[in-house]
Structure formats: structure tokens, C-alpha cells
Amino acid sequence: MSNVCEDQVFSSLFKAHSKTVFNYIYYKFGNEEKANDAVQEAFVKLWENCAKVSPEKAKSFVYTVANNLYLNVIKAEKVRLKYAKSVDDQSSNLSPEFLMEEQEYKKKLDNALGALPENQRTTFLLNRIDGKKYAEIAEMEGVSVKAIEKRMHLALKSLREQIDGI
């Protein structure tokens, strides 16, 4: 039986989930420092409770600890995200007008994301950036899959409305 108290098990759990914990908290509050602290806090707690938490439960344990850490404590800041350079950008046959329009669009998307309610933004970004399935996000947030689908639907709807200026 593997045990979270074992160094190897703990390290592999950390490597598997720390990045998502970091992103999760970052999407919520837009604060990198707080996100880093949340990772520390969550995994130190996991270590302290390693005898009680099975490796299967470890994942939801760290999300719960990280989530509870800043509950109602800090004010969300603007989430700043980057865009991966798409292959198209490097090709020179794109017109300057197109590139300008692309920049414009990203700016609109940024603003629209900032305007989203925290839970919708988190769900949307966990799916788009971290590739998390709705069921996984539901587990992290402690809600039903349907609730996540609702959030996703609303997120897409309001993002489009914001961008298209409806």
C-alpha cells in the first residue's frame, strides 16, 4: 500500500497537482504570490495529515485546503494571462491588418474574462488552459457536473456578448 507519508508518493502527488492548484487559485484571485502560498499551504497540510489522507483522496484534499484558504479573505485582482504564439503568427504572409485585429480581439477577451464572475472564469480557464474535464472541475469545486456545465455555458455566452459588443 502506498502512503502519502512516503517521500516518493508525496513528491509524485506534488508534481501531478501543484501546477493545477496554483492555476486554480490564480484564476480565482489573479494573484501569483497568493497562488504560490496556497500551493505551499495545501501540500504542507497534506504532509501533516499524510497518515489520514489516502493517495486517492489527496487531490481533492489539496484543492479543498487551497480553496478554503482565501475564502472571503482576499479581493480578486485582474487575472493576467498570456497567449501562446500560434504558428500562424510567425508566418510572414499575414497582413498587418489581420495581426492588428488579432491583438484587438485578445484585448477584448482579456477584458471579458476580467468581467466574468469568479466561478465562471475559473471553470472556463481550467477547461481551456489546463484541459480539465467538467467532472474534474466539479470535483475540485465540490459541485455537480451540471453546475459546472451551467457555469461554462454562461461563461461562453457572456464572453461572446462582451467581445461582440452585444
Partner: protein, 304 residues
């Protein structure tokens, strides 16, 4: 169109019919672009390795998180403090010099760590460091003492009038106010007085009264007379004789019309006061009167 169809579309869960219908809608292009651009989004950098290191450091600090409930804890804490204090005072006291003193009309013998002996005459004090005795045989003397020094390293007696250094011998040092006398009974004694060193072979004395070095005759016997309960003087001002009398009997001596600078030669008993008083008054041609602890020496007629 089913509930939350946008979410279903994004996760590829729409039926073909639904998808076809959605594609025909005018906002489809917008959603398609949103889907495409949002897939290029990136979160801020996160260094997994560095973060794991930090955790491990913190874990180290918290690892032995054992809280023992020990009812003796308080007691042990107090006991530890007491133990530290005891040990501390033991070492402190150990470094202090050993000090032995005699009151008036009292004598004492001191055995030093190397079996050297010190005989303390009345009203005297010696101190030495027991701890450093092996390194330096050094004694500080106030008053008068007779030393029988075991052979060994240099043995020194410090007084305010000078220093006496020997290797192994028997000698007497008297160090009183304005009076300093060293008598060597055996071996060789070196006396340093006012930076002047004088070698004293056996059977010689060195005497300083009021800062003046005075020639003295050879001492009699193998040890100072006070060791045999007598005080002997040879051409010593009467004042110092009276001082010695006070020390031996713990009395107060007063004088009236007596010249205390007269030189006195003689001996008085240290055990019989009446005998001693007679021994002093007869050769100095004085009379005396005893009143309790006070003795008055006077010349001529009895005063009132």
C-alpha cells in the same frame, strides 16, 4: 437545443443534429473563434521543482511534531534551573581564593595543597588559590605567619611591603602597619622590598620599620618565639610591642607619658597576661593598670 448547449458543444457532446443547427446560427463563428483563441491562453509560470523544495524545507521544520504530555515537565524545568545554578555557583566558588584569618588572641594552622604549612599568628590573614596551586604557589599575607614550605616550585608570599620568594624552607613573615620583618630559619629566602631584592640565608632576618631597613641580630632558635607562645623583641620600638600585646590578648593598650619610640628588648608570654605586663613594664620602667579589656601604661605617679 438542450440546456447548456454551449458547454456541451465545447466538450463535443452535442448530437449531430444539434451541432448542425448550432453551426447555422449567426453567433457560431464568434464561438468558434472564442474556442480557438482561448485554447492559446497560458497561465503564469509556476516552478514545480522550486516549490517542492520549499515544501521539503518547511516539512523538515515541522516533521517531529510530537507533543508529549509530561506531568513532570514543570518539575523538570525547575530542577534544571536549580542544577544550573548549583553547578554555576560550585564553579564560581571554586575559582575564589581560599582565605583563612585569625582574630585577636587566636592562632591558626593552615595546610596547603602541597602539604606546606602556614601558622597564623593573632590578627592575621592568608589567602591563596586552591585551584591554581599546582601552577603557582602564591600566598597573600596580612599580618604575621610562619611558613614551612615543602620542596617544589617557587613559593611566594605577597605582602603590601614586599614579596618573599623561596623554594622550600622555613621562615617567618611579619607584615604589620609600618612594620615588615622576614626571618629565615632554614634554606634561602629572597625578599623583595621596594624593588630591592635581598637574599636571606638561614638564621638571618630582614626588617623594615616605618620604611627604614633596620639591621637585626641573628634570630634564636629554629622557629619564631610566638610558635612557643612567647613574643620576643630585640631593639623594637615600644609601640610595636604594645601592638603585639593587643593582638595576643585582644585588649586595648593606652599609654600616658610613655615614650613609645623607646627600643625594647625582651620577651613576653602569650598565655599569661599578668606575666606579660610585668615583662614589658619592668624593663621599660613604666607602670600599668588593668581595667577590663583595657590596659594603661604610664610613667611616674599613678594617674587619676
Amino acid at each position: 437545443m438542450q440546456e447548456n448547449y454551449l458547454a456541451k458543444w465545447l466538450s463535443g457532446e452535442l448530437s449531430e443534429a444539434e451541432l448542425a443547427e448550432f453551426k447555422k446560427s449567426e453567433e457560431y463563428a464568434s464561438y468558434e473563434r472564442l474556442k480557438e483563441v482561448s485554447s492559446t491562453l497560458e497561465a503564469p509560470e509556476f516552478n514545480v521543482e522550486q516549490s517542492l523544495e520549499r515544501i521539503k524545507e518547511e516539512r523538515m521544520g515541522k516533521a517531529p511534531k510530537v507533543i508529549t504530555l509530561n506531568p513532570f515537565k514543570k518539575f523538570l524545568r525547575v530542577a534544571a534551573v536549580i542544577a544550573v545554578l548549583l553547578a554555576g555557583s560550585y564553579f564560581y566558588l571554586n575559582t575564589l581564593d581560599e582565605s583563612i584569618s585569625t582574630e585577636f588572641a587566636e592562632r591558626s594552622e593552615v595546610i596547603l595543597p602541597d602539604d606546606s604549612e602556614i601558622f597564623l599568628n593573632a590578627g592575621s590573614e592568608v589567602s591563596f588559590s586552591k585551584k591554581n596551586w599546582d601552577k603557582s604557589r602564591n600566598v597573600i599575607l596580612n599580618g604575621e605567619a610562619f611558613f614551612k614550605v615543602a620542596k617544589g616550585k617557587k613559593f611566594t608570599v605577597e605582602t603590601e611591603h614586599g614579596t618573599v620568594a623561596v623554594l622550600g624552607t622555613q621562615f617567618n613573615v611579619e607584615n604589620r602597619s609600618n612594620f615588615f620583618e622576614v626571618t629565615c630559619y632554614e634554606g634561602l629566602v629572597s625578599v623583595t622590598h621596594n624593588n630591592m631584592e635581598t637574599q636571606l640565608p638561614a638564621g638571618t632576618s630582614f626588617m623594615v620599620i616605618n620604611g627604614k631597613v633596620i639591621d637585626t641580630s641573628k634570630p634564636n632558635g629554629q622557629q619564631p618565639t610566638w610558635m612557643n607562645n612567647e613574643s620576643s623583641f630585640e631593639r623594637i620600638p615600644l609601640q610595636y610591642v604594645f601592638n603585639e600585646l593587643e593582638r595576643q590578648y585582644n585588649i586595648k593598650v593606652k599609654t600616658e607619658n610613655v615614650n613609645t619610640d623607646l627600643l625594647f628588648t625582651g620577651t613576653f608570654s602569650n598565655t599569661d597576661l599578668n606575666m606579660a605586663l610585668k615583662s614589658i613594664s619592668t624593663p621599660s620602667r613604666t607602670n600599668y593598670k588593668v581595667e577590663g579589656d583595657n590596659v594603661l601604661f604610664y610613667a611616674g605617679n599613678t594617674p587619676q
